[in-house]
């Protein structure tokens, strides 16, 4: 029982981050018909800019950074994400929309590897420990609380809570605001949207930036739990992509739910399905990937009518 509770909370807090990234992938795919292979690295960039502003590139000495500086750092990380994301849209995506797929695939990959190379050059140690934006250590028993016999990190609640709030905000923005309506109009019909006066390129670019920036926020909150590497962003981007593929680039809540489910499944597999099949533990990350590939392939073939 306690192990199951442990799995659910660890899974949900990892899955909340996956879910936000999955929302980004879905949104971008629906807006432009492409998959942003650099999204994960963009999120990594946001996280490392936050680290740079909060603590520099040196090993972290103090447990927490002052609240003001941490807030500034998070804002800086998100702004960096939005700026690079939007610039990336104009540089590596927009020239290829509606043209050769090989163009944008290669260009977004190149952007991702370039970002990672910059991070590698600036942050040369194998892994970094992030400062805690909220002093969780002071809550409960050194940051842990006991629920149904399981030791749960207080941070997990914060990550899950922030993820849900951000997902709800994303859903609200898409449904209720002018910006969201513009996005949906572009997703339906870019030419029609342009005719009614929506600035298609600027709106898309902003969405590309926000898709990364919003996810970076969750990553920064979640990151202090584990060592963070320059390649961690790419891995998170992959998990988000897997979740988005599982729901076929569906809506905000579908993508978020898929992310949560992926987190819980990974956590459950990591414990060897709660100890019933211990051999499965090393397949924790492999099985969801394989399922995503199979699902992608098994997609019923709908030959586009446009072809005729």
């Amino acid at each position: 029982m306690s192990l199951a509770v442990q799995v659910v909370f660890t899974g949900l807090s990892a899955g909340g981050v996956y879910g936000l990234i999955a929302i980004g992938h879905s949104l971008i795919y629906r807006l432009t018909g492409i998959v942003h292979f650099a999204l994960g690295d963009l999120i990594g960039l946001g996280a490392f800019v936050t680290l740079l502003v909060a603590a520099g590139t040196q090993p972290l000495t103090q447990e927490t950074v002052s609240g003001g500086r941490m807030t500034l750092a998070i804002v800086a990380g998100i702004v960096a994400c939005v700026l690079v994301g939007a610039a990336g849209y104009f540089a590596v995506v927009q020239p290829y929309i509606g043209r050769s797929a090989i163009g944008w695939v290669a260009a977004t990959l190149a952007l991702g590897f370039a970002i990672r190379a910059v991070l590698d050059a600036a942050f040369s140690r194998p892994a970094y420990v992030f400062p805690d934006p909220i002093p969780f250590r002071r809550v409960g028993n050194d940051g842990l609380v006991k629920i149904l016999g399981a030791q749960i990190h207080v941070r997990s609640f914060a990550v899950i809570g922030i993820a849900i709030v951000v997902a709800a905000a994303a859903s609200w923005v898409l449904q209720r605001t002018w910006f969201g309506r513009s996005l949906r109009a572009i997703a339906d019909d870019p030419d029609g949207a342009a005719i009614v006066g929506i600035s298609v390129e600027r709106t898309r670019a902003l969405a590309f930036g926000l898709a990364g920036g919003v996810a970076a926020l969750a990553v920064v909150v979640a990151a202090p739990g584990t060592p963070f590497e320059t390649g961690s962003g790419a891995l998170l981007g992959l998990k988000g992509l897997v979740a988005a593929v599982l729901v076929r680039f569906g809506g905000v809540w579908a993508a978020f739910a898929a992310g949560l489910a992926l987190g819980v499944v990974e956590a459950a597999l990591g414990t060897g399905l709660l100890g019933h099949l211990p051999g499965l533990a090393s397949y924790r990350e492999l099985i969801p990937l394989l399922v995503a590939i199979v699902l992608l392939a098994a997609r019923p073939l709908r030959l586009r009518e446009a072809v005729d």
């Binding site: 290829y96 797929a101 090989i102 990959l109 370039a114 040369s124 990350e285 590939i293 030959l303």
Partner: protein, 596 residues
């Protein structure tokens, strides 16, 4: 004469013919390719002091893997991001076999290649009918799956230290870096030659057509899914072979070396060097090598390992090549050389008609519903040899839906379709084309910059019996003989629509009406008994209409059964024998020409 002697004479004749045809098709590009190969083979002796031979050998294996990827990206136009995983499969499979058996080194590499081809076949099968976006995502996930599997499964990868591989003699030589280098250069050369042979043959032409317009290729019966699986399998085989030999050069199979970064670097090599040219990927690898040198120089200036700069420089280079939108290295070089050299003229333009097929198409009580709308409601019709049946009616009356039901692009809800003695109701579009039922699509459904003759050849490919990829690779006598006939058949189809003079022009240069006629020619090239035409007069000027009328009359005289879906009633009146008028999916009037 005894049988062995006769066989020897026949072999001699065949060899002489092969030589003659090789001489005939020898081009300046081939001379340039040979010069490059010789220079590559001599590289270690020239650059011996500058670059370590084992780095050169690694680079040459990378070139081999990239050339394999060129098959997928260049020939099939598919963004495969899993080549790194295929190379890794070859490397680890070969490493395991080397460690656990006493098999010779070459055989171990071959086993690695076969394992990779197995994975490639599975991957190709998974993405066989997906669009480019999903192919990219699927292969990207596969690339990660392989990398994460190596990290998570020590029994597969030997843990963090990897697998140490015993070294054995290679083709009788002691396995020095130089031997590895020369072997890699030879294999890359062979692979590039195969690429050229495949590209010129039916396999390459079909793939090129499918990459440029899926719908039009499907309408001509190109078996796209099979071709794509083949392209992935072959591409993975070559990658696996490179991995299987390279791991013996490295002496250790490193589980961190075959991740998404390798897939990306191979893609960079292919795109920078030129996906369409056989030597493009190799040229791209040379550029990557120069980048590695530059990264080392930069790294020593900044005092950090060069590995930090290399991916960044590669990414920047790729972005530069992509954003300039220009040709990649090798195609650009070929294009500028072509401008300097005199163009060769095609000599033979003889047209040979394939023996015609005469069969009637019968459709009984066809129905098709889309949701609550009945698009086609119990329509029966018969198309007889030597006659033209026209379908007329307002937009949305079901004309095109009927045509698509007949062609197999849509399954009917009810009803039967028969071509002569064959029941076609459940047959795929490709099968229908083979049996003699072909359709054209509406305007602009052509294969981009493929030439007019190549369009017709894609159609002729459906009638070929000795045009498989393996025959094309070894260029068997039957294959070469059939090539000549195929070209003559293609010219016959172009002749029927008056496009022989434009045979060597890209289809994109034709007028809209010219492209319409080209679509008819490509369909005729499949040697059909029944031809389904969808709005052939779309966008035609009055003089084009006259031409089209003459073409249709000639098809009728040749004994084809034609179904004409058409808005232009004057064209219908000029050529149709029978006219069916549709309204809301039903035939409301049916009459011979002049009585409707």
């Amino acid at each position: 004469m005894s049988t062995p002697a006769a066989a020897a004479v026949r072999t001699g004749v065949a060899l002489r013919e092969a030589l003659a045809s090789a001489r005939e098709s020898w081009t300046d590009t081939a001379t340039a390719g040979c010069a490059v190969a010789v220079a590559a083979a001599l590289a270690p002796f020239i650059f011996g002091g500058l670059i370590a031979t084992d780095s050169l050998a690694s680079g040459a294996y990378l070139a081999l893997a990239a050339t394999g990827l060129g098959l997928c990206v260049g020939l099939a136009g598919v963004p495969s991001l899993a080549q790194g995983a295929f190379v890794g499969t070859g490397a680890f499979a070969a490493a395991h076999v080397l460690r656990h058996t006493q098999l010779p080194a070459e055989l171990c590499a071959l086993i690695g290649a076969i394992a990779a081809a197995g994975l490639g076949t599975a991957a190709g099968f998974a993405v066989r009918s997906l669009d480019a976006v999903r192919v990219a995502v699927g292969t990207w996930l596969l690339s990660w799956l392989f990398a994460l599997a190596l990290g998570a499964l020590p029994w597969l990868s030997g843990g963090a230290q990897g697998l140490v591989v015993p070294t054995r003699r290679l083709f009788g030589f002691s396995p020095t870096p130089l031997v590895h280098y020369e072997l890699a250069v030879i294999l890359t050369g062979l692979c590039a030659l195969s690429l050229v042979a495949l590209r010129r043959g039916p396999f390459g032409l079909d793939l090129a057509a499918a990459a440029r317009h899926r719908g039009a290729a499907a309408a001509l019966g190109v078996p796209m899914e099979r071709l794509r699986v083949g392209a992935f399998a072959a591409s993975a085989f070559v990658g696996g072979l490179a991995g299987g030999f390279a791991v013996q050069l490295d002496i250790v199979a490193d589980p961190t070396a075959y991740g998404p970064l390798l897939s990306f670097e191979l893609l960079v090599a292919v795109l920078v060097g030129g996906a369409a040219a056989a030597l493009g990927p190799s040229a791209g690898v040379v550029v990557l090598g120069l980048i590695a040198l530059a990264a080392r120089a930069l790294g020593s200036l900044a005092g950090v390992p060069s590995s930090r700069f290399q991916p960044m420089l590669e990414a920047l280079l790729l972005l530069a090549v992509l954003t300039t939108g220009g040709n990649a290295l090798v195609p650009a070089a070929i294009a500028s050389a072509r401008r300097l050299l005199p163009e060769r003229r095609r000599q033979s333009r003889s047209a040979v008609h394939a023996p015609g097929r005469r069969e009637a198409l019968r459709a009984d009580e066809l129905s098709k519903r889309f949701g609550t709308v009945t698009a086609v409601d119990g329509v029966s019709l018969e198309l007889t040899p030597g006659s033209i049946t026209a379908l007329v009616g307002p937009n949305g009356s079901g004309k095109t839906t009927i045509l698509r039901l007949l062609a197999g692009a849509l399954p009917p809800d009810r009803g039967h379709i028969n071509l002569g003695a064959h029941e076609l109701t459940a047959a795929s579009p490709a099968e229908r084309v083979r049996l003699g039922l072909v359709r054209t699509l509406q305007a602009r459904a052509y294969f981009g910059e493929l030439t007019v003759l190549e369009h017709a050849l894609v159609g002729v490919n459906r009638t070929r019996r000795h045009g498989g990829a393996v025959r094309a690779l070894v260029s068997t006598p039957l294959y070469r003989a059939e090539n000549r006939l195929a070209e003559a058949n293609a010219f016959a189809a172009l002749e029927a629509v008056g496009l022989v003079g434009d045979a060597d022009r890209p289809a994109s240069e034709l007028t809209g009406a010219g492209q319409q006629r080209l679509l008819i020619a490509a369909a005729l090239a499949t040697n059909p008994a029944v031809l389904l035409l969808d709005e052939p007069s779309a966008g035609a000027a009055p003089e084009d209409l006259e031409r089209l009328t003459a073409i249709l009359r000639r098809l009728k005289a040749d004994g084809l059964a034609v179904l004409l879906v058409e808005h232009n009633l004057s064209l219908v009146r000029a050529v149709a024998d029978e006219i069916l008028e549709l309204e809301l999916g039903r035939v409301v009037r049916r009459g011979t020409n002049g009585r409707l």
